[in-house]
């Protein structure tokens, strides 16, 4: 079985086929991380390209993401047990007042696929919930998402809260979402910024000084 076969399942959004393939591949001893790095993530990269090129629209993107999620559900238990795999903990969420989550979910999936333990707080999350989650988990990374110009200002509130609590220097903050720009990120004191799920992983690794794979 070639690992690139799973990429095809991701690209066409075949959830059932991907599940069957993943079980078989793991059963035959294929390395879990290889499936993620050489199979799933390249598949999602192609999906991302097709979306950028207006070949894929929302239904196609969503079902590819479903395949990714289904395959990762089978793989995650194996990754957690591996030493050195866990590159860090990331708390992610959409800010208070905002319920958009597609981008955030993709970032979470990509970070998980890259070896992070992802703590997803969901959407419409109040600033103090982020503070609590970062403190309790010892996460090295906090990722905030917003899709509205009216809610993105919440990101500044969260970062200020971390600062007031004296823990801002212990966690790298990263922001993203359609209205978010590098300039806005710098203004609010975020450590990093990314325009899409793929770049988010690169940025996360850069922030935590993890070598790119």
């Amino acid at each position: 079985m070639g690992v690139t076969e799973i990429s095809e399942y991701v690209i066409v959004g075949d959830v059932k086929g991907a599940g069957e393939w993943t079980r078989k591949a793991l059963g035959e001893g294929m390395d879990a991380l290889t499936i993620v790095n050489k199979g799933l993530i390249p598949g999602m990269d192609v999906v991302g390209e097709k979306f950028k090129n207006f070949e894929y629209y929302l239904p196609e993107m969503l079902i590819s993401a479903r395949v990714m999620k289904a395959a990762m559900a089978l793989i995650n238990p194996l990754l957690a047990g591996l030493e050195g795999v866990n590159v860090g903990k990331a708390v992610i969420g959409t800010v208070q007042g905002d319920i958009h989550d597609i981008g955030k979910n993709l970032v979470g999936m990509m970070l998980g696929g890259a070896g992070f333990e992802v703590i997803d707080l969901g959407t419409d999350v109040a600033a103090d919930a982020y503070l609590k989650a970062v403190e309790e988990s010892g996460a090295q990374l906090l990722c905030l998402s917003a899709l509205l110009t009216t809610t993105m200002t919440e990101m500044g509130t969260v970062i200020k809260l971390l600062d007031d609590a004296g823990i801002k220097q212990n966690v790298k903050t990263m922001v993203g979402g359609a209205p978010v720009t590098q300039r806005f990120a710098s203004e609010i004191g975020a450590d990093g910024f990314a325009t899409d799920a793929g770049s988010a992983v690169d940025e996360a690794k850069t922030l935590l000084s993890i070598a790119a794979s």
Partner: protein
Amino acid sequence: MAAMSHRERVVKALNHEEPDRVPIAVDNINAGAYINLVKHLGVDEELQRPELNDQSDPSKTLILGPTLLERFDVDVRPLNTRPLESVHEQIDAMSYRDGWGVVWSRSEKGPYMNKQGPFQGRKITLADLDRHPWPDPNKPGRYEGLRERARKMHEETDYAIMGHVGPSSVGPCQRLRGFTEWMEDLALEPALAEGLLEHVTEVVVACARAILQEVGDYLDVVRFADDLGFQDRAYFRPEMFRRQVKPYLGRMVEAIKSNTRAKVLMHSDGSIYHLLPDLIDIGVEAINPVQTTAKNMEAARLKAEFGDHLGFWGAIDTQHTLPFGTPDEVRDEVRSKIRELGPSGGFILGSCHEIQREVPPENVVAMYDSAIEFGKYQQTAAV
């Protein structure tokens, strides 16, 4: 020569003839922006409106009051009915259930309402859809007084009457099933997506039919709404739209056309350029709000490629110019849109979304006043 009535002006424009000036649409305006406008113009009587009593919802909109509608010489008046999406059962101070069974709740900080549908976030079957208590648009008393209201507007005013008949099929499907779930169904479980479309279409068509059987002969334009696009693309590939969604929207247009001679206006936000040939094909005669800053939706392009078949209702940029521009920039925007969309009629001017909270009152005034100033058609000389 007698001055043209408001109604004649709009009807001519919708018939792709040049009236005396570009007609002006009746837009929704955010309550906060409206209060600023009223204070700016010193029209204090408009602050007494009952719609302004409850100011707890920052996203609340309304239309201008009678004094301002006259001040700006707005040509259209809406005929509203109580939509199925309105409060059916109040759950608590921040949330309610609507006629479809969708729960709407307000977040403490956000400007929009969250929705949770009865089929959302879980696995469902066609039998689940059959079992659902679908709303009955023909419930006795639902349209009490509507015909008389419409008759008065038609016979006692000279405004163009726009009847709202509600959403077509896509919006309710998304709210009932979940936005992402229904998109996934279209790709992965088409029978389920279409089962839901079928149930929903039966309801929206019955609703449109019932309203128009009451008032169809008093209306000049009928508006139905269904957002089909984002900033840079439609929700679906045109091929998927054509195969799986278009027939259901077609039934809505057909129901409207069989019950009125009024023109059919479809509202859809976003980049819907690639869907326009199909919308024309099912009988849509004008589109609103014409979000020209969305991809492929440039005014000149739309007019050149679709101006023979479609009227354009809206078009004044409300993503950048209206909220953040100067009054002079607003005037330039109005002038250029009139130049691009006005020739041969087919243009009814308005903002390309509701007039949002940040829009300064000077810009609202600039939009309406320059619409009059630049909107006159040359009757004898070439344009």
